[in-house]
Each structure stands twice: as C-alpha cells, then as structure tokens.
C-alpha cells in the first residue's frame, strides 16, 4: 500500500507540467560591472555592485530588469547584462523564453498528437529547394490591412509611442533607420 502511494506520488510529480519548473531560479552570470538596485528602476537605491563574470541566480523578471541573488546581496540588475548558463536538460525552466525543446533533437519534436518529420529548413533543404510561387500566392489569404491591425492593437490597448532609435556603435554611420530609401 505504501509502495503504491509512493508510486502514485512519483507518477504525479512526473506529470507536473514544465510550467511549474519555469519558476525555478536560473544560474547566470553578469557580463560587465553593474549596479544592483533595490527595485527595478535605475534611480532606485543601489544595494551593491557586481563585477564582470560574477555568478548570480535569476529568480524573476520585471520589464528590463532581472531580480538576482549574488554573493554580495539581492536586488535588480538590467537584463541585457546577464547571460544564462547553457541549458543541459529539456526542463530548463526559467523566465527568459525557455527553449524547451532545444535539447530534444529534431526527431523528437512533437506537436500535439503528431510527431513531425525530421526535416527542418536546413542548408541542404534550402539548396535543394524548387521555388514554389503558388505558396507565395497563398499568403494573400491571411493578409491583413492597417485598419485590422489597429483594431487588433486596440484589443490589447497597445498605444503607439515615440521611441528614439538606438545609437549604432562609434565609427558606424548613423542610419536614419526609417528611411526605406524612398520606397512606399
């Protein structure tokens, strides 16, 4: 009886969806010297400072910030200065778009009840492609116009916002990123 119960618990645990694991903290490192803030804002109190390559554990994301635990303290760092450890198993968990199936290899990819074929769009597939103009024409069936897109954006209350272009690195010409060179 006891054994049965244990078995049931083990089976039950195995059935827990990977989403649960997604809340697990993830090992990461800091790529450059950075300040750790009390809350996710650049003007928030600085709790401590980290040096490049310092190991941290990431537990949460808020906008452009990760909540981390480091040897020197706990707080929030800018997300773009963080690298996660390479995942070693399928159930990697984590906040940053887990590549859930990456480790499973192409043959094991399942979609619902069907296991898809082993062929992806590889370099070989590309080289062997026979252009398919009919498939291009088929795209028209799903095309949407600006009016439909605006209504769709309103559903989620997406509001167009003025945001300045990010600067290219020094030495590279500053492109007017919207120019489109006179195209429509």
């Amino acid at each position: 009886m006891n054994i049965m119960r244990h078995l049931l618990i083990i089976v039950g645990l195995a059935l827990v969806p990977p989403l649960e694991a997604a809340e697990a903290p993830r090992e990461a490192r800091i790529t450059r010297a950075t300040t750790v803030h009390q809350s996710p804002a650049s003007d928030a109190v600085v709790v401590t400072k980290l040096v490049a390559q310092e190991r941290v554990t990431v537990s949460e994301r808020s906008g452009g910030w990760y909540r981390i635990v480091a040897a020197g303290g706990t707080g929030w760092v800018r997300l773009s200065g963080v690298r996660f450890a390479t995942t070693s198993s399928e159930s990697r968990g984590g906040l940053a778009a887990p590549l859930r199936l990456l480790q499973s290899g192409r043959a094991a990819v399942t979609t619902g009840t069907v296991t898809t074929g082993v062929r992806g769009l590889t370099e070989q597939e590309l080289a062997a492609s026979t252009p398919d103009p009919a498939a291009v024409a088929a795209l028209e069936a799903h095309a949407v116009d600006a009016t439909a897109a605006r209504a769709f954006a309103n559903e989620l209350e997406l509001r167009p916002t003025q945001v300045k272009a990010l600067k290219p690195p020094a030495g590279e010409p500053k492109s007017d990123e919207d120019d489109g060179e006179g195209g429509p």
């Binding site: 390479t86 778009a97 898809t116 069936a141 916002t161 272009a165």
Partner: protein
C-alpha cells in the same frame, strides 16, 4: 597650336563618321547593363525579387496549415510594420511548418517565422521583437542590397516585373537566378552590421508599437543558453552572429537609451498563448 589640335580632332570625327555611323542601340545597351548593377530597384522590382526569394524559402519549407496562427502573425507583424515609414508595402507574414528555430525576411515585405521559433516564445512582446528584427531587414533593404551586390542580380527595368506565363523562358531564367542568389544568401547570412542594426531597430519598433521593449533581448538570451550543437539552431547560428555577440551589442546600445520610463507596456502573454494554441 590649339587651332592645329582642333583641326586634327575635326579630321578624326570626319573619318569616323565616314567609316561607320555609331551604333546607338549597341552603345545604349552596354551603358545600360553597366548602370543596372548600381541602379536601385523600384518598388515593383523589389516586390518581384522578394516574391522569387519567398518562393525559394517556401520551396524548402511548407506553410503551416493553422489559419488562425497565420492571421495572428500577420496582425502582430502588420502592427509593428506600421510603426515604420514603409507602411505602404504589401506586408505578408507567415508561419513555416518547420521544427527548426529561425526567421526570414525577403525584399518587398515578406517575413517568415518558423513554428519551432514560435513554440519557444512566451509572449506577443517577444514575437513583436522577432518580427521587428525581420521588418528592419525589409525596411532597410538588407537582402535586396546583398542580392544586388554579392549575387550580381541586375535590376533591369521591366525584366523582374514580368509576370509572364510559366513557360516563358526568360521569366524562368530570372527566377532561377534570383533563387540561386537567395539560397546562397539565406545560408551564409547578411553582413553582421545588418543583423546588429536589425536587433537595435527591431527592439525599438516593438517599443513603438506599445509592447514591453525587451522581448527581443529575452529571446536572444534563450538562444544564447541553447546548446550550440543543437540541430534546431544550426542554420540560425550559421547565418547570424552568435547570440552572445548580439546581446553585447544590444547591451551597449541600450545603455542610457531611456527605455525604462515608457508608460503602459504590454506583454500579451495570454493572447499569444491562445492564438497559437493550434501549433502546440
């Protein structure tokens, strides 16, 4: 002295004229092909070249049959594209039924994202960042210029836009040429600077569209943490700078950019999951 020179010139011209009238058609032809390699494609040509490049991609991977997912990706993509100055392009977005992780753009407004990539994303804001990256390739004409420069595709006015019958030899020859160029380009990838620019602008386009701006960063971090040996990222990794390099470039560009104070950011996790439920 000068008079003597002019007389000599006049004599030369007279001799030439007497010998043979210049063949203006021939002259125009050779000048034309010299010029065409540097000529910018007009919108119809850009579209036609894009159609051929898109046909090449679709020849390697079929469209996903889920109509709801196809429409959803078009709606998100169109909304992000409408934050650029090229709102007049006939933007077409599509989901490829491909388990690998990748996304593609073709000239004239074509953007493709694989099912494999969509399944790795967690929110509409992340999708907007990915599509913003591809939209930038179109807006900045990265592939068009690369095809013209590296693949020596000549934009000869009228030729690309010929939509003649399928048995037209010239039309088939042209499709074949663009397809070969597209195959090489999609396999080897664009110039690194084009990719970094697409990352910077893609992130900004998602932010302009009202999304939480850091979706693209989160996607790149997930790719960075992927096993480099995975076959599902083989072509993506081969044709792009390493995710760590792209993240470092974005990190540098983001410092002091002031993207934190934007009001009313949306992630769209629920809508993303619901609209793409058919892919799982």
């Amino acid at each position: 002295m000068i008079r003597a020179f002019i007389l000599m010139l006049a004599a030369c011209f007279a001799a030439t004229a007497a010998h043979a009238a210049p063949d203006f058609d021939k002259l125009k032809g050779s000048l034309g092909s010299l010029r065409d390699l540097n000529r910018k494609a007009d919108p119809a040509e850009e579209r036609a070249i894009g159609q051929d490049a898109a046909a090449t991609l679709l020849g390697a991977s079929p469209l996903h049959p889920d109509a709801r997912a196809q429409r959803y990706v078009n709606l998100v993509g169109r909304w992000v594209a409408d934050q650029t100055k090229r709102t007049g392009l006939p933007w077409r977005f599509a989901v490829l039924d491909d388990p690998d992780i990748n996304a593609y753009a073709a000239p004239g407004g074509y953007v493709f994202v694989t099912k494999g990539l969509l399944l790795e994303l967690e929110s509409e804001a992340e999708l907007a960042g990915v599509l913003g990256h591809e939209i930038t390739h179109v807006v900045r004409k990265h592939h068009l210029k690369a095809l013209q420069k590296d693949q020596r595709i000549e934009f000869i006015k009228g030729k690309a836009v010929d939509r003649l019958a399928d048995d037209d030899a010239e039309r088939r020859a042209r499709l074949e040429k663009i397809a070969q160029g597209a195959k090489t380009l999609y396999a080897k990838g664009l110039d690194k600077r084009d990719e970094f620019e697409a990352d910077r602008m893609g992130l900004v386009l998602a932010a302009r569209a009202g999304y939480e701006p850091y979706g693209l960063v989160a996607v790149l971090q997930a790719l960075d943490a992927a096993s480099p040996g995975s076959r599902r990222v083989e072509l993506l990794f081969k044709s792009h700078p390493a995710p760590a390099e792209r993240l470092a470039a974005l990190d540098a560009a983001l410092s002091g950019a002031g993207l934190d104070g934007l009001p009313n950011r949306r992630e769209g996790r629920e809508r993303f999951a619901a609209e793409l439920a058919g892919l799982r």
